[in-house]
Amino acid sequence: MTELTRRGLGRAALAGALTASAFPAIAQDSNPIRIGYSMSLSGGLAANGRSALLAQRIWAEDVNARGGLLGRPVQLVTYDDQSNPANVPSLYTKLIDVDKVDIVTSPYATAMIAPSMPVVMQRGMTYVSLFGAGVNERLKYNRYFSMNVTGDDIKGTYARGFLECTKMLPNPPRTISILAVDNDFAQRAAESVRTLAREYGLRIVYDRSYPPSTVDFTPTVRAIQAARPDVVFFASYPPDSNGILRAVSELRMTAALFGGGMIGPQIAAVQAQLGPILNNLVNWDVYSPEPTMKFPGVDAFQEKYRARAPQEQTDVLGNYLQPYAYAQMQVVEQALARTGKVDQAALAEDMRANSFGTIVGDIRFSALGEWAKERNLFVQFQNITDGDLEKYRKPGTKVILYPPELKSGSLKTPYGAPA
């Protein structure tokens, strides 16, 4: 496998070159299957982008070790989009028109996937995206497929798991507060909880948004505290999630059910810093190493990932999007294997018609290309006494409360982190 990068991320290129030398028979093949995509290797999305790239490189190495795809080695052609959506269209134009890759997959996250869509659609490429939310809702591109748990109807389903947890409380809650960052995903999450709150008998006592540039969350958390909600829902991004939880801790805020769609607590560095502040937080997630999520191959992947993460300076646990980045490529792999050729129409047809066995479970796509059955996890952080990350490798720390078929423990209440 060889990595092509534009911005001189030499380490990644060196690792790619070393990998290529590890599989000389395959690497010398002059006709590899080339999979191209941009990834955020610098800028605000780089933490997840770099760990996703590591997962995809591990997939490519696994495939090449098995002899490649359709008898050809796999080569990843990647560029750093610098977390800047404006860079994405030109990079995908280059990948398809100049590099002439066989397959394109997406960058990480909605904000970067959306600007790639016009280029991909114009060229009729089959496209498997990573952690996009509702990207194809209006475009309705019939060759788009999404590796994300949120499903077709984010508004109707995203917050249901969180609100289902209110039924596990000893006393029925009556009020809820909502705070969401001004970005697409968080606003969809807030819209979902807003829509579903009435169904669960909850009156909204605080409902605000905040700009991504917010530095101090103390006054906002105090205003929420003054509204005395029984249930507190945040939809936030790092490092805001960190700032919110620190302010909550400083103000000794408590609530019967506390959490929501906070992006950040899934990341190892945030878990290390916040330590016991996370106790009893109920939060949206995509993966937890609970016995109910031991899908075939996920342990082997995580073992490889964790062995290399420190030297690659990526998330050391790989408990978030990393298995999904690997699974994204498994979808491509299985579709290619079934169709037996690089044919965009045939690949799309295969992806629409079949299910895929991946390390994050069996997946089938809907007509819009989202997961046919959403699988928003809501986990609760439990039994945390310090910032040591070892416990996050084992069951019992991120207990799954929802969905019922993956439930691995019981709700603890209230939330009230020590100051």
Binding site: G44, A47, Y210, V215, P219, P239, T314
Partner: protein, 293 residues
Amino acid sequence: MDPTVSLLLNGIVSGLLLGGLYAAAASGLAVSFGMLDIVNIAHPALMVAGGFAVILIGTALGLDPLLVAVLQAPVFYLLGTGIYRAYNHFFERRGDEALQGLAFFFGVMFIIEVGLVMLFGPEQRFLDPDYAFVTWRLGEIDVPLRMLAPALLAMAAIGALWLFLTRSFTGLAIAAVAQDPEALRLMAVDPVRIKRMAFGISVALAAVAGGALVVVQPIDPSSHHVFIGRVFAICIMGGMASLSGAVMAAFLFGVVENVTATFYGPSWSPAVAFGWLLLVLAVRPQGLFGRAA
């Protein structure tokens, strides 16, 4: 206490503490941008680089981040003098400082960000002293030491800078070079040397601010983006070349942001804070403490 009054008082106090962090970030810029007329857009990036250095050294030696911030300031002073040498050599002395100088500092900013990604990775980094998890309760007023300690360090650093600028010959020369470098030359003082020292001081202050930032929140290589608009707005609102004006504007920014967030939601905070900037400039184009041309 009436809940609304309590919210208001807490909003003001937390705003003052936030203003302390803003003052730390803006004071160095008040020297480079305000006094030297150098549009150092890389100042917040230098602050974040200072924060990473604090985490690296503080973690390795087990030292308090604020102490490390002070100890590393001389190293960043030397870095600042080096950056100024390059800026002066390639742009300022050729009279290209306006647009090309700005491009130079854009370049410095990107180099710092990418350099930090290469060295430390894109993950968030932190170094929390024990007191960062302590909150003092003064009646119904909460004072988190996570915010108070950096604000106090910022005030101490700015106080020392103010004494230096007003009581020492070099400090007075820095103030003078902002107004008339030729007059300074007639007094046998090299204005380039004075500017070099002043720029070094501004970068040293960025390093101190980086230490303050580390105590307040975790940082990553792109953390500086949040501060670029604010610190320039604070310098302009305070009045160019006015250190006390920058401090007052920082406090005003912090209080307006937090009181607005308390009563009207955080979405309005930046709009109201920058609205104040426009209001101040409409009434006093030279800023709060600036001198009219």
